[in-house]
């Protein structure tokens, strides 16, 4: 069993409620932080911990905190990003649903560190029942003196509010989230200015993912240096992985980033192997926007080394032969799955979620969806594959926010690694409607056979 810092107590009976959570050692980090530490010291501990943003980008959290501007007389805000919407990702939901006080505890300490007296949790609108769970937890924390005025006699005031979104993936992008929090369409802002300087209501703002803020609790309790000893290299601490697709045990797992991908998929402690005795075909290891990898490149890097479940190892080989840790949305495909069909559903997703501000993304995602639909239905042409490649190249890097990249990468990786399967959908169109391509042989992962 690996180390568990976040979910260790998630299944204690009644942990959703304050009394049990407190009895199990909850809110100790608030006592330690507010009574014995300065805000600067907390930021320092988070820096030492090496904690990287758990939403997908993996940016060092302590560094992000240190950027916040502190102009005289201007309130600052902490905003918790609970807009979890990346296909394959359902870890934050799990944490909020089962152990909500862990998030509230992390939010109080983080709010103190950043000087936020009004902190907002922006949660995706579909998680409607979790809003009630969080509001209940907030009320309990407040009734017990951990929120409100002069918390634990420290002089620090803090309120936490839950804001419900209304169905828009783009609001997981921090500036779109801020726009949405202001009651507007979720159109990402041009940066700079960064939120740390001008965020919500033009005030300095830090936006962090649910899991990132929850991780502040063990960091304060054990100290940043101890936290950094868990894991490997720059992948410190633990990471929540939400595993789904064709596996025996889908669910949310907390790992310490030292285990191999193979162990994660096949061990009974985690995914329990591929369902129905099938073979592993491919996997998207970090949420739908990161590159899909065929089984051979998933389990071993191009150099033939074992691939591990951490930031560095998953991205080993760059996009040519590697992928990314991303949000930890681990999607597994068995031998019966169709890569063309899957890529089509993801292209449809990104077209649906594009905010429409930037032409490459607004138009490009629609074209990609149409081409993939055609290929999936057996009505495609071989030149469509090159056209898809060309379109995704023209989206990537040419948009205000990373949604464009997120839409381009899955298409690029599918063509890069499964070009033969795309071609088969054209050359054997009728057969492709009746059966799936199966494992066959993978496209040569090193050589990228595309035009232009």
């Amino acid at each position: 069993m690996g180390v568990k810092l976040l979910l260790e107590k998630a299944h204690v009976e009644g942990i959703r409620y304050f009394d049990t959570y407190r009895r199990e050692g909850g809110y100790r980090s608030v006592e330690k932080a507010l009574k014995t530490m300065s805000p600067e010291a907390i930021v320092e501990e988070v820096k030492k911990s090496g904690l990287r943003g758990r939403g997908g980008a993996g940016f060092p959290a302590g560094m992000k905190w240190s950027f916040i501007a502190k102009p005289e007389g201007v309130p600052r805000h902490l905003v918790c990003n609970a807009d979890e919407s990346e296909p394959g990702t359902f870890k934050d939901r799990y944490l909020m649903e089962f152990i909500p006080h862990l998030l509230i505890e992390g939010l109080i300490v983080s709010s103190f560190a950043l000087g936020s007296n009004a902190t907002y949790i922006y949660i995706r609108g579909e998680y409607a029942w979790i809003v009630d769970i969080l509001e209940q937890a907030i009320t309990e924390a407040k009734n017990n003196g951990f929120l409100g005025k002069n918390i634990l006699g420290s002089g620090f005031d803090c309120e936490i509010y839950v804001q419900r979104g209304a169905g828009a993936y783009i609001c997981g992008e921090e500036t779109a989230l801020i726009e949405s929090l202001e009651g507007k369409r979720g159109n990402p802002r041009i940066k700079p200015p960064f939120p740390a300087i001008q965020g919500v209501w033009q005030r300095p703002t830090v936006v962090n993912n649910v899991e990132t803020l929850a991780a502040v609790v063990p960091i304060i309790n054990m100290g940043g240096e101890e936290y950094a000893k868990i894991g490997v290299g720059k992948s410190t601490g633990t990471k929540l992985i939400s595993a789904c697709g064709n596996i025996n045990k889908p669910g949310v797992y907390e790992i310490d980033m030292t285990i191999s991908v193979e162990e994660f998929i096949y061990s009974d402690e985690y995914c329990g192997g591929i369902a129905n005795g099938k073979k592993l075909k491919a996997c998207i290891p970090g949420g739908s926007s990161v590159p899909i990898l065929p089984a051979n490149l998933l389990l071993k890097t191009a150099k033939g080394e074992t691939r591990y479940m951490n930031y560095e190892s998953l991205s080993d080989g760059g996009f040519a032969t590697g992928s990314m840790m991303g949000s930890g949305g681990f999607i597994v495909f068995d031998e019966d799955q169709c890569i063309v069909k899957n890529t089509y559903t993801l292209a449809r997703f990104y077209r649906h979620e594009s905010c429409g501000q930037c032409s490459p993304c607004r138009e490009g995602t629609g074209w990609m969806e149409k081409l993939l639909y055609r290929l999936d239905k057996g009505e495609g042409k071989l030149s469509d594959i090159d056209l898809l490649w060309d379109i995704q190249r023209k989206i990537e890097g040419n948009t205000i926010c990373p949604l464009g990249d997120a839409a381009a990468w899955p298409v690029a990786a599918a063509i890069r690694h499964f070009r033969d399967e795309f071609e088969w959908h054209v050359t054997n169109a009728k057969e492709a409607q009746e059966r799936n391509y199966g494992l066959a042989h993978y496209a040569d992962p090193i050589h990228v056979p595309v035009a232009g």
Partner: protein, 166 residues
Amino acid sequence: MVKFNETQQAEFNRLVARYPEGKQKSALLPVLHLAQDSFGGWLSNETMDYVAELLNITPIEVYEVATFYSMYNLKPVGKYMFEVCQTGPCMLRGSDDIVAYIKEKLGIKPGETTADGLFTLKTVECLGACGYAPMMQLGKHYREHLTKDKVDSIIDECRKNAAANN
């Protein structure tokens, strides 16, 4: 005429009080949820104009938001809306079959409502239940690990609830 009753007005006040003075527009998304729940499950122009008036913003500021987010219904929907996820992870676990089954069983296509006004079928993009796929959202909650049998029992449950409430 649309108008919040006392309970709804109290909830409105609670929502608006969360934001700094003069930033009441920030309450727009939660207030639109409240309005949709209060006035028949969708947002008519009249409802949106009412929200604009309450928040002291222009109607266009409400329209542009209501049309951006997928959870706001801009036309009437059935009493029970089946929002079935069809994105990759659900597709891998057979969501296409679930959609086909509901279509056949209710005789409606995605986006349509049954003649009795009870059911609307809608296909949606990832709802964050990938490990419990296939799934649908029904009202405030998720229905997960769907099978044809489960769909049958959900439909029966809705019909019974509707009959009991009439």
